[in-house]
Structure formats: structure tokens, C-alpha cells
Subunit: 415 residues, 2 copies
């Protein structure tokens, strides 16, 4: 397909009222003057939460297939309203549900992955219309059942469509200016990053910076989709461009992220045998529970291990239930839970080359009497679990210690 196609994605706050839909239609109309445009939208404002509340009113554990059918109406509402507005201002727009555009997924309800996009159908629709307004977050199984893509679903839809049509770019419009060195609500001199690498933004996303969902970023990296995060309410600003090669990165550290939805679970006194960690993660994976940090410690005096790991808070109850089921088979004695957890992370493509960075981070926290419960590092990030009450302060201290507020100046000079 021709590469003069632009993908624009608007989140729920960008379309939460008729007034905002009108505003967004203006941005799209401007873009459509020179390019074919595929627009991906989320449900209006709090619609999804409202629908979930209705479902919970009908059942404590709503059937997942039916929940998907219900939730998908949220996006169907916003695409048709936006298309109505676009046509009203003279733009040849057409709304398409996930099924209509041919976004095929697995049959895993509420958390399906995209398997295929019917490119020919998409090409035909693009030929017939200037703007396609596609429902984010949803797809269909080959049997025609409606599925939803789970968290970050609309970003993923946008990137997948951009990849399918080999789009010139994929702009993710949101209610912030772009990607910052940390949450600007937390640190008032946080710096806006003009460019950031897939790898860095992936770490940020995984670590709880709610800018872009990791699924979407991974997909963008895989297909080389040029992603840009920008502000719906400042369409003249360019926001943050997520660039390809990590080689372009000139910063050791790019950001500090906080994730307060963490819980730690420990299985104590497991015999020191190979395969225990695999059994634990395997049992959890069967229930679709992903674990995050995992620390295994050996107590030589007892020949026993303890395995501690973190999960998202909302998966805590199910995690504990799974562990209690397999506890005896593992020969473990106790399952301990620490619900008071937050993860504070330092992210940067150059971390690996500067070994003093971890110690500066830990020292900063220690000097300020913030207790570190767990530590986990990778090539591009250092994460510490602290108590939830200390998380914001920890992030501020680290942001200050590494002088991240100066990054904006640096950006301005170099870009």
C-alpha cells in the first residue's frame, strides 16, 4: 500500500464529550487534507467503567465472551459519533468496527492478541473513503465472536493498523504533552523528551508510566512503526517521537517511573531443587497471571529456598489461590503476602555502561530512610520495591539526584 497513510489514535479523554469529538474531528480534517487517514478511537471517557459496572450488576463474574460483546459497544459509539461529525464537516469518513475492518484475534476473551488484519478489505475501504474511523481495543475471532484486546488495546490496534498499511506514522494523541522524565504531576520540573527509543519507552511502560502500553510499543518496534505521542489539546506541538535505533540515544538516564499497583508474594521454605521457579510461574501463567520481579534466595542452613515475586495488585487474590493449590506439591510451607508495595524505577539506555548509577540510586533512597524491599535490574532499568507511601517521594528524590529536570534543555540543544 502507498505510504502516504497516517494513523491517528485518540484516547477516551480526547473524545469524552461532543465538544471534544468536534475538536478531534478538526485535527483529523486537517490531517486528511494531504493524506489518507486511519483514526483509532477508544470509548468515550468513562464509558468502559460504566459498562463494567452494569455487567457486575448482572453477575459477580460476568461471562467473558458476553463482557467483550458489551465492552465493544463503547468504541462502536465513539467511532460512529466521530464519523457523523466528520461527515458533517465534509470529510469522507466511515466508521468500522474491529470485525468490519477484519481485525482477527485469538479466541481469548477480554485479553485477545491480534492474529491477522485483512489488508485487502482495509485497502478497499481506504480507496472508497478519505478517513476510516476504526474502533480500538476490539477484534473478532474467525467464528465472528467479538473479542477485546485487554489493557492498552487501542494503542495496539493503532500500531497494528499502521503496520498493516505501512503507514507514514502513528500519532498517539493523549492528554499529556508527550513522554516526560517522570510523572509531571509528581515532579513539577519533569522534562519533556523530544525523542526516546523503543527500548526506553518499553521499560517506562512496563514500569508503570502510563504513556503507552508495552504491547503497542513492542509491536511498533517489531514493524518499525514511527510512533509519536502528542497532546490532543495542543495539536501544534510535536510531542515525543519514538525513534528506532537505540544507537541514537545520547542519554544514560531518561526517566523515573512509579507503579503503585504492585503486591509481593513469597513462598517460604521451598526445598532447594531445580525447577521450582518454573513450576510456580507455570501454574500462574495457566491462569494468565504474569509475574514481574522475581527474587530467589537460598538459606544454606536449611537447604531451603524462598521465592519472592511481584504481581499487579488486582491479580493478588488469584495468585494466592493458585499458590495455595500448588504449595503442598512444591513442599513449601508458607505463602506470605505483602500488599503494600510500589515499584520505583530508573530507566535509561546507557545504564549498563555506568555502574555507579545503581549505587547512587540506592544511596539516595537510603539516606532518606526509604526502605528497599526488593531490587531488580535489567540492561535498561533499575527497579526498587518500596512501601506505597514512600513511592512518590522516592521518585522525586531520584529525579533530583540524577538532575533529570535538566534534560529538556539538553533536548532543545540537540534536536
Amino acid at each position: 500500500m502507498a505510504s502516504e497513510i497516517q494513523v491517528l489514535k485518540f484516547g477516551g479523554t480526547s473524545v469524552k464529550s461532543i465538544g471534544r469529538i468536534e475538536h478531534v474531528a478538526g485535527i483529523i480534517a486537517e490531517c486528511a487534507r494531504t493524506q489518507k487517514v486511519i483514526v483509532v478511537v477508544s470509548a468515550m471517557g468513562d464509558t468502559t467503567d460504566y459498562l463494567i459496572k452494569l455487567a457486575k450488576g448482572c453477575s459477580a463474574t460476568p461471562d467473558k465472551r458476553e463482557l467483550d460483546a458489551l465492552l465493544s459497544t463503547g468504541e462502536q459509539m465513539s467511532i460512529s459519533l466521530l464519523a457523523i461529525r466528520l461527515r458533517d464537516i465534509g470529510v469522507a469518513a466511515r466508521s468500522l468496527t474491529g470485525g468490519q475492518v477484519g481485525i482477527f484475534t485469538e479466541s481469548i476473551h477480554t485479553n485477545a492478541r491480534i492474529v491477522d488484519i485483512r489488508k485487502e478489505a482495509l485497502a478497499k475501504h481506504l480507496e472508497d473513503n478519505d478517513v476510516l474511523v476504526v474502533a480500538g481495543f476490539q477484534g473478532v475471532t474467525p467464528d465472528g465472536d467479538i473479542t477485546t484486546l485487554g489493557r492498552g488495546g487501542s494503542d495496539t490496534t493503532a500500531v497494528a493498523l499502521a503496520a498493516a498499511v505501512n503507514a507514514a506514522g502513528c500519532d498517539i494523541y493523549t492528554d499529556v504533552d508527550g513522554i516526560f522524565t517522570t510523572d509531571p504531576n509528581l515532579v513539577n520540573n519533569a522534562s519533556l523528551l523530544r525523542t526516546v527509543s523503543y527500548g526506553e519507552v518499553l521499560e517506562m511502560a512496563r514500569l508503570g508510566a502510563k504513556v503507552l502500553h508495552p504491547r503497542a510499543v513492542e509491536l511498533a518496534r517489531q514493524y518499525g512503526v514511527k510512533l509519536r505521542v502528542r497532546n490532543t489539546f495542543k495539536p501544534e506541538d510535536k510531542g515525543t517521537l519514538i525513534v528506532g535505533g537505540d544507537m541514537e540515544i545520547f542519554r544514560a538516564i531518561s526517566s523515573v517511573a512509579v507503579d503503585k499497583d504492585q503486591a509481593a508474594v513469597a513462598i517460604m521454605d521451598v526445598p532447594d531443587q531445580p525447577g521450582i521457579a518454573g513450576k510456580v510461574t507455570g501454574a500462574l501463567a495457566k491462569r494468565n497471571i504474569g509475574i514481574d520481579m522475581i527474587v530467589q534466595s537460598f538459606h544454606p542452613s536449611t537447604d531451603h529456598n524462598s521465592i519472592t515475586f511481584t504481581v499487579q495488585s488486582d491479580a493478588l487474590d488469584e495468585t494466592v489461590a493458585v499458590l495455595n493449590e500448588i504449595k503442598d506439591a512444591l513442599g513449601a510451607r508458607v505463602v506470605q503476602v505483602d500488599g503494600d508495595c510500589a515499584k520505583v524505577s530508573l530507566i535509561g539506555a546507557g545504564l549498563v555502561e555506568q555502574p555507579d548509577i545503581p549505587s547512587r540510586m540506592f544511596t539516595t533512597l537510603g539516606e532518606n530512610k526509604i526502605n528497599i524491599k526488593m531490587i531488580s535490574t535489567s540492561e535498561m532499568k533499575i527497579s526498587c520495591i518500596v512501601s506505597r507511601a514512600a513511592a512518590d517521594q522516592a521518585a522525586r528524590l531520584i529525579h533530583e539526584a540524577f538532575e533529570l529536570h535538566l534534560l529538556q534543555k539538553e533536548n532543545a540543544a540537540k534536536v
Copy 2:
């Protein structure tokens, strides 16, 4: 297909809240104990009106394709919520949109007619589930565009599905006890009819008794679908059964109907030439405006006719616009409008055999100083146009004059 399938249809007021959805699920579960069940539901309460309001916020004249995509979400919400509730109470239910069940329609948006129902898909779904919860009011075109069926759409969906699966019966659940001799809000001793013929109910529906839409009744008659109108909130009551043969009818008169959404339009001084009425109705039909009563009167002294007819009030403006366009071509001089119209009708399969009935009706109105503006009769009804303010009184007087309040006793004796 086996004939032990029952179709149940619930209107918007029957599913307007979670509490009502729970109640309705109970009725369905009871029915599903002995039969396969297809449930057709409308959108919850005022959802459709709310969606139309949103659309009007985006455009004074919303694109019809997009409006259909928007409106169809209302039913999709109610089917998935009802299926969630049914599964919660242990009923093997599955929701299906018009597209998923294979209800194919014309490509006429906002007012499509059903062309075909994919019976094999329906049979497969019925094999796999005990209860199918199908979205009323909607279908898809062969291209996959979502359509809506217009007024009475959900009743039509229910009857069409009943015909497709050769159902044992089709119960239309609503918020009244069944079909009455007239509107019980108007005449407090109105009688509930235990049985009524397709023909009678068709006349009632056409004449503004908002019980069942004529499209649905016509379809039921065509395919011999056994229709029953019953009260969602008195599920133990049997309501009104609409029976096949008019030969079974033992009543001359069955009901009085009032329709206050009428307007009369007159084209004055049209030359007395063949084909004028055809041209007028043809021009209106092109805009999808149906006319109701039509009276043509000849004035020999001038060699000119005047044609007077009634339309639904909401079509009045467009009707006048059309007439003004064609006025000169017809050689007509004036278009007159009378917006203060209501239609009061007497309905009964035996009317034709009792010629005294019309005169008794007109005399009743005359004696009570109610002016009759127009009269129209058919084999099964006599309609009078009166001023809107007189309509309710006219209906009460006629109901009393023909002693329709005694019909319930008669029903009880004979059924």
C-alpha cells in the same frame, strides 16, 4: 427445525434496569426448562433516544449509515447484559447481534427490511446453546454494514426469527396486559381481549394503537406465527393471543384506537385529470413518506378537484416541501395544512356485515358536537379525523356506545 422452539421478545421498558434484566432472566430461565428459547431484546429504556441526542450533537443531519452503527449499540448492550445475567443463574445463553445471527437486510439505512435469515447459522447456535439472546431492531447488509429496521424493528426481528425456526410461538412481552378494546389509560373499563385476529390487530396497529407494529403483524400472518402479547410484570397471565383465521372471530367490533400524530394536507384546485393522485403519492413515496387516509373531491362547477390526505405529524414539513415542489407541475393552486388532527377508529372483523355501525359511530360523535373532518372506511375499520382536543372524548363515547367494556365478560365465557 424442531418446533419446540419458543421466541420471547422484551421491549425497552422490560430491560431498562439491572433489576428488570434480572426479572426478565427469570422468565426466560423458566421457559428454557422445557424448550429451546430465542430471546429478542430492545435497547434498555431510553438508550436509543439518548444515542440519537448524541448524534444530533455531532450533526443536525447525522449520516444514516453511521447513525445505524451508533443505534445498534443500544441492543448490543442489552443482549450482552441479559446473557451475562442468564449465565450467572446457570442458563446456557449466548448473545448474538443481528450480524452474528445472520439477519440480512436491504442497504436502506435507518429503515431496512429483512431480506434473509441464515437458518443454518441459527440452527448451529441453537444446537450449542439453550438460549440465544438476539439483538432486535438490527441487521447487516451483505457488505457487512450495520442497518436498523426502523419503527417496530424489534417486534419484526422476533417474528422473523420465529418464522425462520418455525417456532411454537412468539411471545411479545410488554408493559401492558395485552390488547384491549381501547387504551386503558383513556377508558378505565376497557376490556382485555383474550384472542384477536391478525387482521384486527393489524388495523389497530395501523390506526395508532401502540401494541404491535403492523410490519411484525403482517409478517406473522404471512408465516403463520402464533403471536401472544403479554405483560412482563405478570408472567403468569396469558395476555392476548393473536389467532390465525378471521373465521374464528365472533365479535363485530373489537376495539377503538386513537392516533394523535396526524396532520392533514390538502392540494386545492387540481384540474380533474387522471393520474393526479398517483403523481402526488408517487412524489411522496420517493421521499419514503407514506400517506394514510386520502380523500379526493370533485367540484363540478370548476372542473377542479381537491385532494386531501393525512400523514404522520413528523412527516408534515417534508410533505409540504414535496407538494410545493410539484404543485406547479400538477397545475394546483394552493397547498393547505391542518396540523390539528387526530384519528379515531373503530375496528372489528364483523364491521362489513353490519351496515348500521358507521352511522351509529357518526351519530354518537355528532350528538356530542364533535366535528368529523374526514372519514375513511375499510372492511375492518372506520376512521374519523377529528380535532386533537376532541380525540380522547370521541374514543370514550364510541367505546361506550358500542358497549365494548362488556367484551371481557364475553371473552371469559367463550375462551
